[in-house]
Amino acid sequence: MPTTTSSAPWPISPAMPPVLEICDLRVSYVAGPEVLKGISFAVGADEFVAIIGSSGAGKSTLIRCVNRLVEPSHGRVLFNGRDMLRLDSGDLRRERRNIGMIFQQFNLIERMSVIDNVLTGRLGHTGTLRSLFRMFRREDIERAVRLLDRFGLAEHIDKRADQLSGGQRQRVGIARALIQNPGLLLVDEPTSSLDPKISREVMALIRDAAREFAIPVLCNIHDVALALEFGTRVIGLQGGRVMFDAPAAEVDQIVLNRIYNMEVL
């Protein structure tokens, strides 16, 4: 067994505190072993962190702990200095508005129009009564249209989400996350339902948007080549622990073989 590197001494300048700081995060589901066994790392404002690891390593659970779609059993998740795990339900909702999320299965509302899907990203900022009648704010609608136009979906605005192709749907999913004006993007296997060509396009889209709006990204991805190409830093998970944590340029075949137990290539 290789040694576990817990919180890596990642260089973060004192002037720029980390956007996200995870300390000794543990998760156990009822009547089972721990899924995460003490994860610690920090994400700086300009990072694109790719999390790799085989199925069952805990990648999905890890990013869901950040916005508490999964409730951790122990640890701290500091987002801009606030511990997400100590928020009551109202504060949690307010904090979730600042964290965008992109999913493997896109998770669009299939029977709703493309633009309404994007506008659901503004629900946290839209009053309940307004949202019941889908009376989204004018400026939100304008931004949704601009985002869709930019992603080449202008002529699909009124179509139902289930009429789009996989790549188009994921772009709607990205627009939904971006319209939140997030301070952090959580991305869960964004390319697993897509073919290789579309996968690279989608990854480039996420990276470019993150750069342009200066959003740090935490991205699960089992495709190592994509992780190395698009990530600025790679964290390897295995069995619920961080096996390595290094800038993408320093990840070599030996490290990869270690994390995938020689299964890569």
Partner: protein, 277 residues
């Protein structure tokens, strides 16, 4: 024979189990044995069955034939038919206005409050269901007296239990991914329900709503028998007078009207489902 795969070096690590293969058949056999035992215990004489159809025909032809069709064309009876329709319609609409929020509270995946609202809503729906609709009718006639009101109230309770349970089951069967996505945007519980659940259950709920009216209407045709107004009141009167020709006519009219109601609901359902799909 050319082998596609090489033979295993050692013993085969899998052996088919006759015990597991027989299991489903054993369950069916056990059920049938229980039926046989029940028939024996209840002392049911199956030899009387073959004559049943013949005797039924005798009773129908001698006692109930001809049906007094004049009776069911009287204006007061036709008015009662209209009242029965109105009772079932009002009870279904009011029942659903109550059942929809209850279904939201009672769905474990989306309930806004799992410790309080969830069990409370479950209890109300289960309570409505655990009392048979005719028992509800009898109870409420006791409290409110005769008339259309107790019938409508009883049918409303029936509708809450019936549609509430089906609505809840539909919500609990939705895809969790869409719920995650809406929740992750910072939406509140009602927004999650409206945006993640309603689009997914729209078709199922429409079907359930129309089916519920269908079932409520069928029940409404007899609540009058217990004093709660509508067509059933005429049935009771004729039964008490042992006026078999009238009873026959009323039963025929109920069968015909329920049949027509089912045709209507099937048609409406078809149209609605196409509209919301």
């Amino acid at each position: 024979m050319s082998a596609i795969v090489a033979a295993l070096p050692g013993p085969v690590p899998y052996r088919p189990s006759l015990r597991k293969g027989l299991q489903p058949y054993a369950v069916v056999l056990a059920l049938l044995v229980f039926v046989a035992w029940s028939l024996d215990y209840l002392d049911i004489d199956l030899e009387r069955l073959p004559g049943l159809l013949g005797r039924l025909a005798d009773v129908l032809s001698q006692r109930y034939f001809p049906p007094d069709l004049e009776h069911i064309r009287r204006p007061d009876y036709l008015a009662a038919v209209g009242e029965t329709f109105q009772m079932s319609y009002a009870a279904t609409v009011v029942g659903m206005l109550i059942a929809v929020p209850l279904a939201w509270f009672a769905s474990f995946n989306l309930s806004p409050h799992r410790r309080l609202l969830y069990p409370a809503a479950r209890l109300i729906i289960a309570g409505c269901r655990s009392v048979h609709e005719m028992i509800w009718t009898i109870l409420i006639v006791e409290i409110l007296g005769f008339g259309m009101l107790p019938g409508t109230v009883a049918m409303t309770l029936f509708c809450i239990g019936f549609s509430g349970k089906l609505f809840t089951e539909a919500v609990e069967a939705i895809q969790p991914g869409q719920v995650e996505a809406i929740r992750a945007t910072g939406a509140n519980a009602l927004q999650v329900f409206v945006f993640a659940a309603l689009p997914q259950v729209r078709v199922a709920w429409t079907g359930i709503a129309i089916y519920s009216w269908d079932v409520v209407f069928r029940a409404s045709t007899v609540v009058g028998f217990f004093g709660a107004g509508g067509m059933g009141a005429f049935l009771r009167e004729s039964v008490q007078r042992v006026d078999s020709h009238r009873v026959a006519a009323i039963l025929l009219s109920i069968i015909a009207i329920v049949f027509v109601a089912e045709l209507i609901s099937a048609w409406v359902r078809d149209r609605m489902l196409r509209a919301v799909a």
